[in-house]
């Protein structure tokens, strides 16, 4: 994968990875013994953590309440909010 060029592109990558996590997570709730789905889930979970860290480094925290660090200054309340498109 080539490096992301902008915020939108990195966000889209996070949305794609997290959507895979949502869908696989729901599937695993009713198919907990599917080892292939479990391996896929763990793989995207690691990729999501990496991509999220890269995003937060450049564009600020995706979560409050101690879930993400806000380096140097408090950036949680910076715009844009997700519905401001």
């Amino acid at each position: 994968m080539r490096p992301p060029v902008n915020r939108e592109e990195l966000l889209l990558r996070i949305q794609a990875l997290e959507f895979t996590g949502i869908d696989l997570g729901l599937y695993l709730n009713t198919h907990p013994n599917d080892t292939r789905a479990l391996a896929d889930y763990n793989q995207i979970s690691a990729a999501l953590a990496q991509t999220r860290a890269a995003y937060e480094q450049a564009f600020g925290p995706l979560m409050n309440f101690g879930q993400s660090q806000s380096r140097c200054r408090w950036a949680w309340v910076d715009e844009p909010w997700p519905w401001e498109v």
Binding site: L11, L12, I14, Q15, E18, F19, I22, D23, G25, L26, Y27, N29, T30, H31, P32, P61, L62, M63, N64, F65, Q67, W76, W81, P82, W83, V85
Partner: protein, 190 residues
Amino acid sequence: MWVYEKKLEYPVRVSGPNPKLAKTVITQYGGPDGELAASLRYLTQRYTMPTSQAKGVLTDIGTEELAHMEIVAALVYNLVKGATLGEIKAAGMEGYYADHDRALYFVNGDGVPWIASYIQSKGDPIADLHENMAAEEKARATYEHLINLSDDPLVTDVLRFLREREVVHFQRFGETLNIVHDFLNCRKVW
């Protein structure tokens, strides 16, 4: 507890102000088969589910529905954001405007406010899971009606994503119903 993520589950774009479309889409915010009803239905039924798996399914789908509520809100917000009063009147949205301006409120397409009797919580897991499967099908049908009404391809794209999620949720609730059936059958004799 819950933690907010500063992102949408699926990207939202609209082609421009379109209060006429917003007036119909808002039913998935505060209508009988909308995302608020879906989320609250599952999150309140989960406490009395008999198996750990079923509690997990209702917790997770109830949580995803909250993300869908935010997506619908983002659609409505952006469809009325730049609309003129003339456009709002032409869309038949002046009654809504009188009470709410361009703010979000939980109503259906005709302005009827959300009520708790849209949902049930029976304490009987078989009854509750059947209600949830029906709710997913009703939400799917509503999204299909909205897709038929949509004249904005960007909005239609988002509505298609939300429709597809209802299909997946229906499938997962059906599997959960089987799991709960098996559990109850080996524990109870009537």
